[in-house]
């Protein structure tokens, strides 16, 4: 397995085996004195309050500063609506593409042994370690006026850069590893036995995947999709480079936030930002729910294994 410079990996570890085994049933055999415990809890909570809770509350407070009317007006503004639409379109294309890729990559990597597997894993992680700005730059170099395909595209009157296709491409690149990263460790831990049994009993490859593999990986799959979607809708740097910032046409929600903010229209900027913050909260809620489900099914599984032996 290789490392990445991104979220899902860190969470992947907890997703695959989400136990809380180190937790004690009681605090009776904690060795540090009670005052140390209290100080540590206070420091941790103070740090998280300052860096997470206060900003989270501030987004909504700033959004409603000028009242509900202004808030409604800001999120129903035609430019805002078109930004919301474009964000949904980009995510709607990027997420399914990377979902199909994630399943294919996980199937080949988890179910088979072949040379160069660790290199392939590292390459899949690459988009995580690339600065968002560079993720946008690569598409400028390919499709810009001076780029590889620039002259050809101009001749045929096809617009990719500073248009919707460029935004979609940058979004696909940025969210490329998410689903694969969740599924690979999950499918590796599950092994091949169940699929082999289905095949021996005469199931076709496709129905084995649909009836055996898919039910086993559904929570991991959903987990990857949720994270992929959150990033797709929230990406700023890469999309900013390829968008061209044409109002009502090539602005996604995060770009619209930037434009309104730079125009000192803070209430409207925070109104759209609050929609994105809401998306983040929903993402975290679903993520916690899936972790709990994975935890439960993991426990049931290990209980079942104990009973078998």
């Amino acid at each position: 397995m290789s490392a990445t410079v991104n979220p899902p990996v860190a969470v992947a570890a907890t997703a695959a085996v989400p136990g809380r085994r180190g937790e004690l049933p009681s605090t009776s055999n904690v060795f540090e004195p009670p005052w140390v415990r209290r100080v540590l809890i206070t420091v941790a909570l103070a740090f998280l309050t300052l860096f997470l809770l206060v900003p989270l509350v501030a987004v909504f407070a700033e959004a409603f500063k000028k009242g509900g009317q202004a808030y409604l007006a800001a999120i129903t503004d035609p430019d805002a609506v078109s930004a919301i639409k474009l964000t949904l379109i980009a995510a709607f294309i990027a997420v399914p593409l990377n979902l199909v890729f994630g399943v294919a990559a996980a199937w080949s990597i988890a179910k088979f042994e072949f040379r160069g597997k660790s290199i392939l894993l590292t390459l899949i992680d690459l988009p995580f370690s690339v600065s968002p700005v560079i993720s946008g730059l690569i598409y400028v170099l390919m499709f810009g006026a001076q780029g590889w395909f620039g002259p050809w595209l101009q001749e045929h009157d096809i617009k990719i850069l500073f248009a919707v296709p460029g935004i979609v491409l940058a979004t696909v690149f940025i969210t490329f590893p998410f689903v694969a990263r969740e599924l690979i460790p999950l499918m590796q831990s599950q092994g091949n036995e169940e699929e082999e049994a289905a095949l021996v009993l005469g199931a076709s490859g496709w129905s084995t995947f649909r009836r055996v593999t898919l039910p086993n990986i559904k929570w991991g799959l959903l987990y990857g999709v949720i994270l992929c979607n959150a990033r797709a809708m929230g990406e700023f740097g890469a999309v900013s480079v390829v968008s061209g910032h044409i109002r009502g046409e090539t602005n996604t929600m995060p770009l619209q936030v930037e434009i309104l903010y730079n125009e000192y229209n803070f209430a409207a900027a925070f109104a759209i930002a609050s929609l994105l913050a809401l998306l983040a909260l929903v993402t975290l809620a679903i993520k916690s729910f899936i972790e709990w489900r994975l935890h439960e099914s993991h426990n049931v599984e290990s209980d079942a294994r104990i009973l078998e032996h």
Binding site: S2, A3, T4, P7, A10, A13, T14, G19, R21, G22, E23, F31, R37, L40, I41, A44, L45, L52, L53, V54, P55, A58, V59, A104, W107, S108, I109, F112, L120, L123, D125, L126, P127, S129, V130, S131, P132, V133, I134, L137, I138, G144, G147, W148, F173, L199, F209, F236, G237, S240, M253, E258, F270, A273, L276, A280, T283, L284, A285, K287
Partner: protein, 268 residues
């Protein structure tokens, strides 16, 4: 097992199309530059100032996250307190919250009339529109990395060792220094490296709070954008190559670190 050719073929095709070919464009573009032009582009005083700022601020932010992230991980694994599950879920907020939202929110909080800035500024402590603001944004962005790498290690840690040490008369400080710290140390280093790597490339959350003054508070990714806006594609690409090489080196270092962690775990 069926489907090997199809799945691997599609994986490699899609990887090449979406990732490898576009990324190679960065390197191929720089080959059109002469060495001198390349060297000039990546060592101009303004870009060197931006490297120092980007890497320096990332280093400080990652260090803050090691200390506090380590404490948060410890508290979440070892203690029980009300609201723990909520706090645990909230740790991932910086992964889920779009960077632009984080950027404008932190700026609003730390500017002179913001909730936090209004108390800091009378003390002569300016955060927004200074390099300190960049550290704040990068600390926010990197917060989950240390927590989420240390947490599973602490959960898997063998409590028996600590119990044995305690029964042999070790103080709680000795238990921490001799038993707990060596166990979580590799995870702390990995978390630090992940947070640091993420911070060096970060753009969205920083540009709002930074003030973006050349030589003072201009990060390297922003400088790439500036070059692009001047239609200096070669210059932008040259700096991008430096940033890319730095992140590949970090990726390699993180891989080696994780291999080291696994080896240590395996030896036990």
């Amino acid at each position: 097992m069926p489907g090997f050719g199809l799945s691997l073929g599609f994986t490699i095709f899609y990887l090449g199309l979406i990732v490898l070919i576009p990324l190679s464009a960065v390197f191929l573009k720089t080959f059109t530059m002469t060495w001198d032009a390349f060297w000039m582009a990546v060592t101009s005083p303004r870009v060197v100032a931006s490297y120092k700022l980007s890497f320096g601020a990332s280093l400080i932010a990652a260090s803050i996250n090691v200390v506090f992230g380590g404490i948060v991980a410890w508290v979440l694994v070892r203690y029980k307190f009300p609201g723990k599950r909520f706090i645990d879920a909230l740790v991932d907020l910086p992964f889920a919250l779009p960077t632009a939202v984080a950027g404008i929110t932190l700026t609003a909080l730390y500017s002179s009339n913001g909730w936090i800035g209004r108390y800091l500024e009378p003390l002569g402590f300016k955060v927004a529109f200074t390099p300190v603001g960049i550290v704040v944004a990068l600390t926010f962005i990197g917060l989950p990395f240390v927590v989420r790498t240390v947490q599973p290690v602490l959960e898997e840690a063998e409590r028996e060792l600590e119990e044995a040490a305690a029964s042999l008369g070790a103080s709680s400080l000795q238990i921490f220094a001799r038993v707990v710290f060596p166990t979580i140390m590799p995870a702390l280093v990995t978390g630090f490296a992940l947070a640091f790597a993420r911070a060096t490339g970060e753009y969205g959350s920083v540009i709002f709070i930074a003030g973006n003054m050349p030589m003072v508070s201009e990060i390297t990714p922003l400088f790439i954008i500036t070059k692009l806006e001047q239609y200096d594609y070669a210059g932008a690409t040259a700096i991008a190559v430096v940033l890319l090489l730095a992140s590949f080196l970090m990726l390699l270092a993180i891989n080696l670190l994780q291999a080291w962690t696994r080896n240590r775990a395996g030896k036990k």
